[in-house]
Homo-oligomer: 252 residues x 2
């Protein structure tokens, strides 16, 4: 099994390092990842500049550090000449959750979406902790999931978004198949004035606490210490309202 590994925290981040180690036990690992942090770049790609590529010696393999986005990494890996065609695309392990509609902003998830868009089975993996360096359970879960997917296959045009609670392994309650929750934030922007008198904003915000209590959502599953696995597609057509607007008389 040939595995293409990428992320959005950068090629030297601990989450991707943890995956390199365990995945080399189950297949040939090819690392094509950003040369630095690309968190929250969404599904951006690089069209205005060239994409620089630097070979990097890694534990068990050679990797490629890329000056572009996570989606660039996957496109370049599967459409370029750097590496052979993979059997599975894995993006992560991200430092921090990627839940609900926030996946739209996520470089990690977008890389996996790009993998599926290019016709490959793909998974995105995130650890629900912005600080912890302990990726051991998340890495071993991902390894087992990779083997399971090799056996089961993934339907075309689908990827899996995996979020792992940051709790000791014996407190994990199981795996839940979930839907994405509609994420809401409060106090998103802080309005400030720079020392030179320029107005600027910081974007952050806190998750609205009482949202998404539906136990079938990814957010609630992780809160309840389940590993959340959400099947994701990339067809943004809203077929549900197609018929309704077919009857409109939009002026030409």
């Amino acid at each position: 099994m040939r595995i293409l590994l990428t992320n959005d925290d950068g090629i030297s981040a601990p989450g991707i390092q943890a995956l390199m180690e365990v995945l080399s036990e189950v297949g040939e690992v090819f690392v094509v990842a950003p040369d630095g942090n690309r968190s929250a770049v969404g599904h951006g790609i690089t069209l205005q500049h060239p994409i620089m590529v630097r070979e990097v010696k890694l534990q068990n393999t050679t990797g490629y550090a890329i000056s572009g986005t996570p989606a660039d990494c996957v496109k370049l890996a599967v459409q370029g000449t750097l590496i052979p065609s993979p059997d599975l695309v894995i993006s992560g392990i991200n430092q921090g959750q990627n839940l609900g509609t926030d996946v739209l902003y996520s470089g990690t998830v977008s890389a996996a979406i790009e993998g599926a868009l290019q016709g490959f089975p793909a998974i995105a993996v995130s650890l629900d902790d912005f600080i912890s360096n302990d990726f051991s359970y998340a890495a071993s879960f991902t390894k087992n999931l990779s083997l399971y997917l090799k056996e089961m296959g993934l339907p075309r045009d689908t990827l899996l978004n995996v979020n792992i609670p940051a709790v000791p392994e014996d407190q994990i309650r199981g795996v839940k198949i979930t839907k994405l929750c509609l994420m809401r934030y409060d106090n998103v922007f802080t309005d400030r004035i720079s020392p030179k008198g320029t107005r600027y904003f910081w974007q952050a915000g806190e998750i609205v606490a009482d949202q998404c209590q539906d136990p079938n959502t990814d957010l609630e599953a992780v809160r309840q210490k389940y590993v959340s696995v959400s099947p994701i597609h990339f067809d943004l057509t809203n077929y549900r309202i197609m018929e309704q607007i077919q009857n409109w008389k939009i002026p030409v």
Copy 2:
């Protein structure tokens, strides 16, 4: 009617200028747009740096030039304190098509998705030409569509992706409600060596010519000189395969 106007080509691009002019005839226009070109940044947002804001005098209103992405512009406009809450979010007119799965890469479409995500009716508008400065028909179509949407309303969690053929107005054959096509490209990456001996790639590619001949797709509609209007949602959950993978026994 209060209209929030943004784009990804930047606040001084001709497409957004054309919209400012015609939309000021039908409502109060607030412009919050990137301070320069942000094409293909997808749904990226700015979390690692502050977002700088500069007031700009425009034809009929004051605008805000933003150092961030198109999605930042919409988030800041509707969650920050810059402008009053809009009745409609419009992103465009983009210089160049935004069709099919390419909307995932599009800053223009992502801005409109962000509008819908925040609960506002939203449309993204693109002109199928990377050079032409003649946005007059596209602008007048968008103005009429805005008035029509004011009357009809848009279902929540839905936006419209509009693509306008770059042909003389009398050659436009009508409006088609379309689905997004799965876009395929050939020859995406050019492999080069810099003067200093570094390997790099340019990303570009050509649309695979014979794809998407289904007349119900956006790509084919625009090819046939129809204005393409695609209803878009932002729920990436793949409900179709939910039941199937509910039965999986993923190892914990």
